[in-house]
Structure formats: structure tokens, C-alpha cells
């Protein structure tokens, strides 16, 4: 079965420190996008970062960066200089093998400790 796995249901980080959230996925496609989304208590899904699988360079958006290992089908999110506003659920999303849909992982709940 095709899945997206987030193995860390909960993570915590001290304010200003760095944390890495892990994600693995399963696809037989060669060209695709991967996404990390943030969902705060308001439950609005907010795009954090996008990785294009055909690009070897890891995506970066300000304090957010990814470590993309295509062969290992691993797509982790690194948050540097963590801020209180980073506290949220984080979801990884990867495409289904065929068709136009994405699978989401079960999420990682991030707590930022002041």
C-alpha cells in the first residue's frame, strides 16, 4: 500500500533551537512535488515548503529547509531558530503513483518551549 509515514507523533523544541521532522513516502514516479504543510490550532493548512523531486538542491524558505533523499524516499523538514509561532501540527504530503491526488501523513505535533 502506498503511504506517507511521519514516525514522530510529537516533537518539542526549545525556542531558538533547531528541530527536524521526518517523513518517508512511497512512489514509483520520477518527477513529482513534495510538500510540508503547517496546521495551527485554527486548523488552516498553510504551505511551509515545496520540494521538486527532479531538483537535487534542497528547498529553503527562510528558517525552513528540507533534507531530500530521493533514493531513500525521505523528506525531512528542518526548522531553525524555532519561534513560539511555529507550534502546530506539521503534515508531509506526497503524490499517489497514478492520478491526481496526494497522500498526507498522520502529522507531527510540534511544541515550542519558551
Amino acid at each position: 500500500a502506498q503511504t506517507v509515514t511521519q514516525s514522530q507523533p510529537e516533537m518539542s523544541v526549545q525556542e531558538a533551537e533547531t528541530v527536524t521532522l521526518s517523513c518517508t513516502y512511497d512512489t514509483s514516479e520520477s518527477d513529482y512535488y513534495l510538500f510540508w504543510y503547517k496546521q495551527p490550532p485554527s486548523r488552516q493548512m498553510i504551505l511551509v515548503i515545496r520540494q521538486e523531486a527532479y531538483k537535487q538542491q534542497n528547498a529553503t524558505e527562510n528558517r525552513f529547509s528540507v533534507n531530500f533523499q530521493k533514493a531513500a524516499k525521505s523528506f525531512s523538514l528542518k526548522i531553525s531558530d524555532s519561534q513560539l509561532g511555529d507550534a502546530a501540527m506539521y503534515f508531509c504530503a506526497a503524490p499517489k503513483n497514478t492520478g491526481n491526488q496526494f497522500y498526507f501523513g498522520t502529522g507531527t505535533s510540534l511544541t515550542v518551549i519558551p
Partner: protein
């Protein structure tokens, strides 16, 4: 530039009733996907609309149906509501693309919280 909008924000229905949820995509987007998110879980794909047609469907019964209008807005209809249909319903819009997943980046609306009693 307006983002994705959804209405209503909250809804309470009773078992057996029917509900219609609405979504307006981000300006310039042509593809709308609907997701169901139960409490404590990730979003589950319901279906996707492009060019007014259902292009892909997830593992949801026929009680879930939809429509896309010429202005790209979309509706999600759920008939014969069950208690288990209580969830956050998310709409996401994107540009139809050619990479796996068939679309460019999805942007989500704020969701509609449906409670079935």
C-alpha cells in the same frame, strides 16, 4: 489577491440529512480538490475537479458528490449524513499540472467544520 475561500465555516446537521459545502479557488487556479480531515488525523482525499469534471476520486462512497462551475468554484455534497461524517472539510485549489500528483502547489481554504448529530 483573495486566497481560497470556503462557506460556511461551521455547520451542524442531523443524521440522514444532506449538506452542501462551497469553495472558491485562489485567483488564477483551475483545479479544486476536496479533503476530509477527522480530528487527530491527516487530510484524506475525496475527489478533484478540473474543467468541470471529476478527475480523480479517493476511497469515499457515492454519498459524496461534487460539482465544479465554469468560474472554477466548486461544491461538495454529502447525502444521508452519518455520525462518522463529522470532520473538517478542506478545499484546496491549484493549477492543473503534468507532474505526478497532476497538479502544482495546493493552497488550502480555512475549512468547513461539519458536526453530525
Amino acid at each position: 489577491d483573495a486566497g481560497v475561500t470556503q462557506s460556511p465555516t461551521h455547520l451542524i446537521k442531523t443524521r440522514g440529512q444532506q449538506v452542501t459545502l462551497r469553495c472558491s479557488p485562489k485567483s488564477g487556479h483551475d483545479t479544486v480538490s476536496w479533503y476530509q480531515q477527522a480530528l487527530g488525523q491527516g487530510p484524506q482525499f475525496i475527489f478533484q475537479y478540473y474543467e468541470e469534471e471529476e478527475r480523480q476520486r479517493g476511497n469515499f462512497p457515492d454519498r459524496f458528490s461534487g460539482h465544479q462551475f465554469p468560474n472554477y468554484s466548486s461544491e461538495l455534497n454529502v447525502n444521508a449524513l452519518l455520525l462518522g461524517d463529522s470532520a473538517l472539510y478542506l478545499c484546496a485549489s491549484s493549477l492543473f499540472g503534468t507532474l505526478a500528483g497532476g497538479q502544482e502547489t495546493q493552497y488550502f481554504g480555512p475549512g468547513t467544520r461539519l458536526l453530525v448529530l
